[in-house]
C-alpha cells in the first residue's frame, strides 16, 4: 500500500487544481464538500498506511520516490514514511478535514467561497509535502509553499488593506526564517554532499564536528523560529488573525506553525551532536512561552488571545524539543492541535454568531445562546489549563517533567514553564468567562445564535479528542513513546523521571498552578466590568504594556523597517541616479564641453589655418630631427 502514499499529497493538490478552474461553476456548498472529500480521502490513505506503524512493523523508514528534481544536489521528490511522518500526516489531515467541514459553514455567503477552498486544499498539499519529504530540498519546498498558502489565506479578504499588509508581513517574516533555513541547507550540503535525510542523518556522527553541528542547529532554529513564530520572529502571527478563522485554526494553530517543531524533531540526529544548540532551542522556547503568555493576558480581541496563546504553547514544544524530549514535544503538538483548533473554531462560531464582532468586551453571557460552543470551548479551556485527565495535562506535564530532569538549567526552565502554565490557565479562563459568563454587553442589533450543525459537529469531535487525546501517552503506558521510538532510534530521548513519587509531586504542583490560574481568572472576571479595571490597575503600567504587546511592532518598525526604507531611498535616489548615472551622463557632458572648447579654433580664416598648418609641419620636422637623433 506504500505506493499509494503519493496520493496523500496528490489528492488535495488535485482538489486545489480542480477547484481553481471549475470552483466558481460548481458553486457554494459543493466546492466545499469536494475539498473536504479530497483531504478526507488523504486522511483515509494515510490511516491505511499508518496501520503498520501502529502495529509496530514499521521499524525503519519506507521510501517512495516520485521523480528526480535536482540531481546535482541530491534533491528528489521522494516520500519518507516513518512514525514521525505518520503522526504528523494524521494530525494534519485529521484536524484539516474537521476544519474544512467547519469552513463550509463559516464561509457561507462569501463571494470567493470556492477560491477559499482551493487555497485550503493547496495548503493541505503543501503541509503534507513538508511532512512527508524525504530530503531537505523537498522539505524546504513544502516549507515555502506553506508560507505561500498562509500569505494567500491571511490576505484572503484582500480588499481590506490591513489583511493584505498582514499577509505580506507574514510572508516576509517567514522568508527571514527561511533565509536561516537555507544557510543551514548550505552547510549541510557542504558537509554531506547531499540533502537526502538518509545521507545526512546516518553519517551525522562521523561527519559533523560539534562546531558545525551547533551552527546547523542554530540556523535550523532561526528557520523554525520564523515558521513557528518564536520570540524574535513571532510578530506576524497576531496580525495573521486578519485571515478567516478556519485559516487561523488550521494554519496558525494546528499545522503550519508546528512545522518548526517537526523540523527540530526530524533533525534530532544533528541536535544530538550539539547540546548547545539544544539549550538555545529550549531557551528560546521558554522565553517565548512566558513572553507570549504575558501579552495574551492583556488582549481584548478574542482571536488575538488565542494567537498569543499559540505562540506560548509552541514555546513549550520548543522547550521540550530543545532538551531532547522530542516525544514530549510531538505529544504536546498533537494535543495542542486538538484543543487549540477547537478554541479557534469555537471563537469562529462566536464571531459568526455575533455578526463578526471580535472584541470580548462587547460579548458576555453567551452560554445561554450558544450552549454547544460554550461547552466545547469550556472543555478546551480546561484542557489547555492542564487539568487532569484532559489532554493538555498529560502533554504539558510531560514537558515540565522533561524540563525538571534536564539538570539545573532544566529546572530553571521548569520554573518558567510552571509560571507560564499558571498564566495560561488565567488568561484562558478570563477569555471564557468574559465571553460566556457575566452580563451581555452586546452592541444593539446583535442577537447571537448557535452556529449550524455543520460547524458544531467538528467542535464536538475536537472536544472529544481533547479529552481522549491525552491518554495516548500517559506515564503509566507510554503509548506514543513506543510508537515514535523507531523514528528516533540512535537518539537517547529525554523523558520525565520514572519513579512515581517525583511524577506525583510534579503533577500536583502543575495542577495546583492551573487551578490557581483558573480561580483568579474566574473570581476577577465573573464580576461586572468595573471590577476588572480595578484589578487591571493593580498591575499599573505593566497591564498597558501587555495590552500593546510591549509595542514590539513599533520597535521593529523603528529599528528595521524605517531605516531600511531610508537606506533604500538613499540607495535609489541619492546614490544610484545621481552618482552612477551622473558618472555616465557626465562622460557625455565631458565630451560635449571639450568639443565646444575646441570649436573656437575653427575661425574660418584661411590665414589662421595657415599658421596652424605651418606649426604642425614644424612640430613634425622637429620631432623627426629629435627622434632621428639629429641635433
Amino acid at each position: 500500500m506504500i505506493e499509494l502514499l503519493p496520493l496523500v499529497i496528490a489528492l488535495p493538490l488535485a482538489g486545489a487544481v480542480f477547484l481553481h478552474f471549475f470552483g466558481r461553476r460548481i458553486g457554494e456548498p459543493a466546492s466545499g464538500w469536494i475539498a473536504t472529500l479530497a483531504i478526507g480521502a488523504a486522511f483515509v490513505v494515510g490511516l491505511v498506511n499508518a496501520v503498520p506503524a501502529f502495529t509496530g512493523e514499521l521499524h525503519h523508514a519506507e521510501h517512495v520516490a516520485i521523480w528526480d528534481w535536482m540531481p546535482a544536489i541530491g534533491a528528489s521528490l521522494e516520500i519518507q514514511w516513518d512514525a514521525l511522518s505518520v503522526l504528523m500526516t494524521l494530525v494534519v489531515t485529521g484536524v484539516g478535514t474537521l476544519i474544512h467541514v467547519f469552513a463550509i459553514g463559516y464561509m457561507h455567503g462569501d463571494p470567493r467561497f470556492s477560491r477559499f477552498f482551493t487555497y485550503l486544499n493547496l495548503f493541505a498539499a503543501s503541509m503534507l509535502t513538508l511532512v512527508l519529504a524525504g530530503n531537505f530540498a523537498m522539505l524546504f519546498m513544502g516549507w515555502e509553499l506553506v508560507g505561500l498558502c498562509s500569505y494567500l489565506l491571511i490576505s484572503f479578504w484582500y480588499t481590506k488593506p490591513s489583511a493584505a499588509a498582514a499577509g505580506k508581513k507574514a510572508f516576509v517574516v517567514n522568508r527571514i526564517g527561511d533565509f536561516g533555513f537555507m544557510v543551514a541547507l548550505m552547510l549541510i550540503f557542504l558537509n554531506f554532499g547531499t540533502l537526502s535525510y538518509g545521507g545526512v542523518f546516518e553519517r551525522a556522527g562521523e561527519v559533523l564536528t560539534t562546531g558545525t553541528a551547533v551552527a546547523i542547529g542554530l540556523l535550523l532554529l532561526v528557520g523554525a523560529a520564523g515558521k513557528s513564530a518564536q520570540v524574535p520572529l513571532y510578530v506576524w502571527l497576531p496580525d495573521a488573525m486578519e485571515g478567516p478563522t478556519p485559516v487561523s485554526a488550521l494554519i496558525h494553530a494546528a499545522t503550519m506553525v508546528t512545522a518548526g517543531v517537526y523540523v527540530v524533531s526530524r533533525a534530532a540526529a544533528i541536535f544530538e551532536l550539539a547540546p548547545a544548540a539544544g539549550y538555545a532551542v529550549a531557551t528560546v522556547g521558554a522565553v517565548t512561552a512566558l513572553w507570549a503568555a504575558t501579552i495574551a493576558i492583556g488582549q481584548s480581541d478574542i482571536k488575538k488571545v488565542l494567537a498569543y496563546s499559540t505562540v506560548s504553547q509552541l514555546g513549550y514544544m520548543f522547550l521540550a524539543a530543545g532538551l531532547g524530549g522530542y516525544v514530549a514535544a510531538v505529544f504536546h503538538l498533537m494535543t495542542h492541535a486538538f484543543f487549540k483548533a477547537l478554541l479557534f473554531l469555537g471563537s469562529g462560531s462566536v464571531i459568526h454568531g455575533m455578526a463578526d464582532e471580535q472584541d470580548m468586551r462587547k460579548m458576555g453571557g453567551l452560554r445561554k445562546h450558544m450552549p454547544t460552543t460554550a461547552a466545547t470551548m469550556g472543555v478546551a479551556t480546561l484542557a489547555i489549563a492542564g487539568i487532569p485527565p484532559l489532554a493538555g495535562f498529560w502533554s504539558k506535564d510531560e514537558i515540565l517533567g522533561v524540563a525538571f530532569e534536564g539538570g539545573t538549567y532544566g529546572q530553571v526552565l521548569w520554573v518558567v514553564g510552571l509560571i507560564t502554565a499558571m498564566l495560561t490557565a488565567f488568561y484562558m479562563t478570563r477569555q471564557w468567562v468574559m465571553v460566556f459568563m457575566g452580563e451581555p454587553r452586546w452592541d444593539d442589533g446583535v442577537h447571537p445564535h448557535e452556529s449550524p450543525r455543520v460547524m458544531t459537529i467538528p467542535l464536538v469531535i475536537l472536544a472529544v479528542l481533547s479529552v481522549v487525546g491525552g491518554l495516548v501517552n500517559t506515564p503509566f503506558r507510554l503509548g506514543l513513546e513506543h510508537f515514535l521510538h523507531p523514528a528516533f532510534e540512535g537518539i537517547d530521548l529525554a523523558h520525565p523521571s520514572e519513579e512515581m513519587s517525583v511524577f506525583a509531586i510534579l503533577a500536583a504542583v502543575s495542577v495546583l498552578a492551573g487551578v490557581a490560574g483558573i480561580a483568579v481568572g474566574y473570581l476577577v472576571y465573573n464580576r461586572p466590568p468595573a471590577r476588572w479595571t480595578k484589578f487591571q490597575e493593580g498591575f499599573g503600567g505593566l497591564w498597558t504594556a501587555w495590552e500593546q504587546a510591549y509595542r514590539v511592532d513599533d520597535i521593529y518598525g523603528a529599528t528595521i523597517v524605517k531605516p531600511g526604507k531610508r537606506l533604500a531611498d538613499a540607495a535609489a535616489f541619492k546614490f544610484d541616479l545621481p552618482v552612477i548615472d551622473g558618472l555616465v551622463n557626465g562622460a557625455g557632458w565631458l565630451v560635449r564641453t571639450v568639443g565646444s572648447k575646441l570649436r573656437v579654433v575653427q575661425t574660418g580664416l584661411v590665414r589662421n589655418y595657415g599658421v596652424l598648418f605651418v606649426a604642425g609641419v614644424l612640430a613634425a620636422v622637429i620631432w623627426m630631427v629629435v627622434a632621428g637623433g639629429g641635433v
Binding site: R599, T603, L605, R607, G610
Partner: protein
C-alpha cells in the same frame, strides 16, 4: 668654393620660407596666390638640383608634373577669386569666414 647642390637646396628653402611667410602675412588673396607659386618654384628648384646631384633625369621630369599642378591650381584659384570678388568688393581673405565652426 664650388657650388654644391646643397647651396641650391638652401636657396630653395629660403624661397619657400619667404613664400610661406607671404601667405601668413598678406591679406590679399592674389598675393597669397603668388606666394603659393613662389613655393612651387622653390620645390622645382630642389627637384632640379637633386636631379643634378644624383644624376637622375627624373628630377627634371617631375618638374613638369609640378608645373601642371601649378597651372591647374592657378586656373581654378583665379576663377574662384573672380567669382568671390563679384560679390564682395575687397580682396581681403579675412571676410571669407563663412565656414567658421
Amino acid at each position: 668654393m664650388t657650388v654644391t647642390p646643397g647651396w641650391y637646396m638652401t636657396l630653395a628653402a629660403v624661397l619657400f620660407a619667404i613664400g610661406l611667410l607671404g601667405i601668413l602675412v598678406r591679406r590679399n588673396a592674389l598675393i597669397m596666390f603668388m606666394c603659393v607659386e613662389l613655393m612651387l618654384n622653390a620645390v622645382n628648384l630642389t627637384f632640379v638640383a637633386a636631379g643634378r646631384a644624383l644624376g637622375l633625369i627624373d628630377g627634371q621630369v617631375s618638374v613638369f608634373f609640378v608645373l601642371v599642378v601649378a597651372a591647374a591650381e592657378v586656373v581654378i584659384g583665379l576663377a574662384i577669386i573672380v567669382a568671390v570678388f563679384r560679390q564682395r568688393s575687397s580682396a581681403s581673405v579675412d571676410e571669407l569666414s563663412g565656414l567658421s565652426g
